[in-house]
Amino acid sequence: MKIRFLLWPAAFILFWQLLYLLEIFPPLVFPSIWEILRQTGADLASGELIKGTLYSLLVIFAAFIPSLIGGFLMAFLSVKFSFSERITETAAALAHPLPGIALLPILILWTGLGIHIIVLIVIHSVLWPFYINIRSGFKDVPRLWLDFGKNNSLNGREEFLYILLPAAFPSIFAGVKIGWARAWRAVISAEMIFGTIGSAGGLGWFIYNKRIFMDTPGMYGGVFFLMLIGLVVETFLFRKIEKRTAIRWGGTHVSS
């Protein structure tokens, strides 16, 4: 496990450096690993990279909270009431495939310009997977467990807390994982299209600026840093949680 964890990055670095040494691409678009490391170090030291990352994380966090609440509410209502299910299902079917960026002009028109635009785009990109996973999590709870709850006279609150919620957890968690990946994609692409030049910006804006000013090593540094965050969160957070939950419970939602 530990070795495999290091093997792929190592192979990747070797492969990169090999391509660099073969001089297939001009160094201006394909710098050496050392240049990338040096520039990334400088960007870390100046705080630019950290600030951008924290900024993007803040945006994602600000979008996650309302999305989770909204997803839960919509899922809960659609499990309880069929008319509400029709509305949310239609909304999800219409909105889910729509890339958040396509909403940009409408969002600007309706809500004006500002950082909230990026938050809204991220909300759009995580709300639907949340809703869909939470809903299917609730809907797929085996009747057997609900019957067991009824047999022991669980009230509505207890049924929700002690049966529905843990039973739906693997599916909800899969939704959070999908949401996390989508949120990064949305935040990066939104920041690249829509950025504030003078003031603070996120990691996407950082990468975009590096590209515009042709600081190619810095640009790759930003991209690799982004991948590193994904890797760390996946390995040290998601995997751990899954080991304690879905995998131990023999759940069917381990993948995705």
Partner: protein
């Protein structure tokens, strides 16, 4: 002393334009400590009757009363054990599954808050059902037989008056099935619960129960048959075979 009473019970479900009648004007009473098998071919309404008795289904006509009061919903004093081995909650350990019906809000800290009596009861039940070494296992790690043992232990720890068992051993291999039948019989002898046991296996019904409610499929409703075989009942004895054949012919003749 009759404590579960069925009076004038009817039930049907829609099929196409008409209705398929499962039960019509059934009367039945069970005394405390009765072991009653509900026996018959698949699809004859055995499970429907069990769900009516346990309050999961409401009768169309008639009523089910428990100690004089009319049943309208499932109740913890009547613990249901299902055929499906996935009835345990997979996110809880074996021990917590057993504690759940009575101590669901304390799980995690239940150990500290359990009274001396309950702790003793838990240990005894886990010991009797052979689960002591699986206390911290999760259901995904258990075999089908073990899972049903936990379901049994869970139902017993809830301190029920009645056990409703819906073909609980049907998916198990023969040895585990035999083992669990004996375990159930031994526990029942000491626990004294009223047991309703759904099965389509005549031998199983003959081994376990004193009374059998035989669904024959003729629409007239089940026959109540008393099992006069003396326990322990040996399936290889001449008497047992005769009794088995008699029950077969009862079903076949119709």
């Amino acid at each position: 002393m009759s404590h579960l009473k069925v009076e004038n019970l009817s039930f049907s479900y829609p099929v196409g334009d008409g209705r398929h009648i499962v039960l019509e004007k059934l009367d039945l009473s069970a005394d405390k400590g009765d072991f009653i098998s509900i026996l018959g071919p698949s699809g004859c309404g055995k499970s429907t009757l069990l769900r009516l008795l346990s309050g999961f289904l409401r009768p169309e006509e008639g009523q089910v009363t428990l100690n004089g009061s009319i049943l309208s919903s499932p109740f913890p004093e009547g613990q249901m054990i299902f055929q499906d081995t996935n009835q345990l909650l997979p996110w809880l350990s074996v021990e917590n599954n057993i504690l759940f019906p009575r101590f669901r809000s304390l799980l995690g800290s239940a150990e500290k808050k359990l009274s001396e009596n309950d702790r003793l009861l838990l240990e005894t039940i886990m010991d009797k059902t052979g689960l002591l070494s699986f206390r911290h296992h999760f259901s995904a790690q258990l075999s089908g037989g073990l899972k049903q043992r936990v379901s049994l232990a869970r139902a017993i720890f809830a301190q029920p008056q009645i056990l409703f068992l819906d073909e609980p051993f049907v998916s198990l291999d023969a040895p585990s099935r035999y083992e669990l039948q004996n375990l159930l019989l031994n526990l029942w002898k000491k626990g004294g619960w009223t047991v309703f046991f759904v099965t389509h296996d005549i031998s199983e019904a003959l081994i376990l129960s004193d009374k059998m409610l035989l669904f024959t499929g003729d629409g007239k409703g089940p026959l109540l048959i008393t099992n006069f075989l003396e326990s322990p009942r040996d399936p290889h004895s001449e008497q047992f075979r005769k009794e088995k054949l008699r029950l077969y012919s009862l079903i076949d003749s119709l």
